[in-house]
Amino acid sequence: MADALTLALDAAALRRAFEVAEQWLSRNRDGINAINVYPVPDGDTGTNMLLTWRAALKGGVEGDGAEAGVYLGHVARGALMGARGNSGVILSQILRGLAESSAGVAALDTAGLARGLEGASATAYAAVTKPVEGTILTVIREASAAGMAAATESPEAFLYITLTEAFASVKRTPELLPRLREAGVVDSGGMGVAVLLQGIVCGILDHPLPAEPLVTGTAEVKADAVEHEGHGFCTEFVISGAGLDRHTIEDELTAAGGSSILVVGDPSMLRIHVHVAAPEHAFAVGERYGTLAARKAEDMQAQHEAWLDDRDDEKPDTASLPAIGLIAVAEGRGIAAAFRDLGAGRVLMGEAGGKVSAGAILEAARRAGRDHAIVLPNDKDVLMAAQQAAGASEGFLTVVPSRSPASGLSAALEYRTEGDVAEVAAAMAGVMAGVRAVEVSRSIRTATVDGVAVREGDAIALVDGRLVAACETLEGALLAGLDVAAEGGAEIATIYLGQDAPPDAAERLPGLIGERHPAIEVQIVAGGQPYYPYVAGVE
């Protein structure tokens, strides 16, 4: 299929290309996760995009074998609900734009793909209230513009020009976004979308993926090597024929790069299970001996998402639910318990090292409230997924845009189970405005962020998402953060101890804080959150 003089991507061809892209993104996930403006170890853009992409592929299963437009529609719907993290949400909008531009198209040619990318870019921009340049948006826009200009070229030239521009655009992101430049990184979401494009191009052209991951976590972008490497797709199918020889097929699957081979059955029908990099190679082996059925190729690490489970169709029993339900997104058992204590019917935690998806938020919302639900995302990178869930909820779900569990917990104090949901949400947002959130972690890199020079290993304090201090000890960073947060007066500081907080912190902190801020009441709560040994709410 590599000798395509003209491009005609039907559903099956798109699916194959998207699966290669999944594989490529999966191998670059850790590198993309490590690209983080803030040098804290909680970067998960790669994971969020990968999980979103997998949800898209899973959605596409329903449209397999259909025309390209229909298939992409299913892919986009899968992505919409599977979206997590802000980059994942924008990725889902890119897929939506691609699908909408391809509606009614049986197979995409070069011009169709160019139009699709253009639509993808436009839809992604439209989904963001205040588009910021130097991000994933810029990368998809510049790549699609280059593609549009090359739409009359040969398919190979078109794909090459588009992809080259995508990576060039990623490299330029620090020029557009000063904080990237300061931090010495490129935009992680932009890199994610370029990696996906590369996987898609390799898939379409049937080129092997590079042997080494492209992304290492800094601004450095490695040159693309071209080589084949096996990586686990769990592939299954059934061969029907006559005189089928189990051992011959096993040998051929091994020769095709397969592992964990299991062939069972009789000479008229064999069931095959094999782990192989390119499932089509395994299928090709089977096709030489008989007719194939029940083909299945799944990434072995693919996460099964609760919202797609068979439970999905089951109507939640809403009679016992409050009229207005509350759900919160939170990491850490103590923080989750505090949210439940204040009435949250559901507390969601990120899965598989990534953020919570829009679909998971919507699903939880439906199970938390009878008429309405309010969600506290408690993380700026969950905000867009929450908004996407709200947008798909037909007015059921309202987002109170908390960016930290500390402010989310204060907002939860104003939660009411009954009344006008808009009023309740407004009251919650009102309290939140009076809370400043301090987050303390250890820097994973030497960088200058928000004008503060940070060395790798420094304890750093962020106040409302801005880096304000770097020093040697976690306690020192916390105190410095509290100084900033308490400017202009404060009555109470609630300190949530993370899972990595020193064991004596609960005893020591009240005294240390009391010396500097005698008027502030200090409350210590075992939060159990990862990455941030201390999180504090100051109000």
Binding site: A337, D341, L342, L413, I492, T494, Q523
Partner: protein, 291 residues
């Protein structure tokens, strides 16, 4: 009818939290509820004072409970007052939704000339109803008029409490609404009120200071105000501040302060503070009002 032909006496229960001087000056009879530490029964405010109670609460392992006076206790009180010359009795009580006291009083008063009033209030919110009814009687009101004054005062008053914890209220089984939201992990200071005779949470605040401010804000929504009141369970120093703030809120109003009685202390716990206001009479108020 005047006091020459009928002698009206006013009876209430110990949840009214009226200061002793007011009780004495208005000739009010207060029937004590019972506080129980295990099997030990103590008459509220008679066998145990608020000070003794909160000191003991800090030491005791068993959680105290409360009990309404039996119908026989009420009957004995009513019969004594009749023997002393009362021709009619107005018996004004704590919300029937919070306590069996009113039901017990009704049973005890069967066949006797006693009129019962469910104020749907508690503490000084009940106290001000009793006080205004007794003042009306003192100023020559008929029983019907005094009853109307008690009910009208109940309509115009609003009491708030802030608690150190909802734990006492929960254990006492007096949380009727919103009881799922304790916020105990964050040491939330709840603000509660009585709505339609039931305990209703109205706000959850991070600090006591904020909770008191929230109460004062809610009180300031009632204007004009004729009476303000404040109570503490175990923190007398907090009253001075509240007195000043309430005076600032309604300089012309009468101010009452008191200490929360043990039987209420069982349910609100140490550190509780309470503030309330009575709105000035309005067009719905009865024609006879105490001066």
């Amino acid at each position: 009818m005047t006091n020459q032909t009928s002698t009206i006496r006013v009876v209430t229960d110990s949840t009214c939290d009226l200061p002793p001087d007011v009780v004495e000056a208005l000739g009010i009879t207060v029937v004590p509820l019972t506080v129980m530490f295990g099997e030990e029964e103590l008459r509220d405010g008679v066998d145990i004072t608020a000070e003794q109670f909160f000191r003991r609460l800090g030491r005791e392992k068993v959680m105290p409970t409360t009990a309404a006076p039996g119908p026989g206790v009420f009957r004995a009180v009513y019969e004594r007052l009749i023997a002393e010359g009362a021709t009619q009795i107005l018996s004004v009580h704590v919300s029937g939704k919070l306590s069996a006291t009113l039901e017990s009083a009704r049973q005890g008063g069967e066949g006797l000339p006693v009129t019962h009033v469910d104020t749907l209030q508690v503490s000084l919110a009940l106290g001000v109803c009793v006080m205004e009814a007794a003042r009306a009687v003192q100023q020559g009101a008929t029983l019907d008029q005094a009853e109307a004054v008690a009910l009208d005062t109940a309509r115009r008053t609003r009491i708030f409490f802030t608690l150190e914890t909802l734990e006492y209220l929960r254990r006492g089984g007096r949380m009727s609404r919103g009881q799922e939201f304790f916020g105990s992990l964050l040491q939330i200071k709840p603000v509660i009120t009585l709505e339609d005779g039931e305990v209703t949470p109205v706000a959850r605040m991070r600090t006591k200071q904020k909770a008191v401010e929230e109460i004062l804000r809610r009180c300031s929504e009632s204007r004009p105000v004729s009476i303000t009141y404040a109570l503490h369970a175990s923190t007398p120093d907090e009253l001075a501040h509240l007195r000043d703030r309430l005076h600032g809120l309604a300089p012309e109003s009468r101010y009452i302060e008191a200490r929360i009685t043990p039987v209420i202390g069982v349910h609100v716990g140490p550190g509780a503070v309470s503030v309330g206001v009575v709105r000035a009479p309005d067009e719905q108020s009865p024609s006879f009002l105490p001066a």
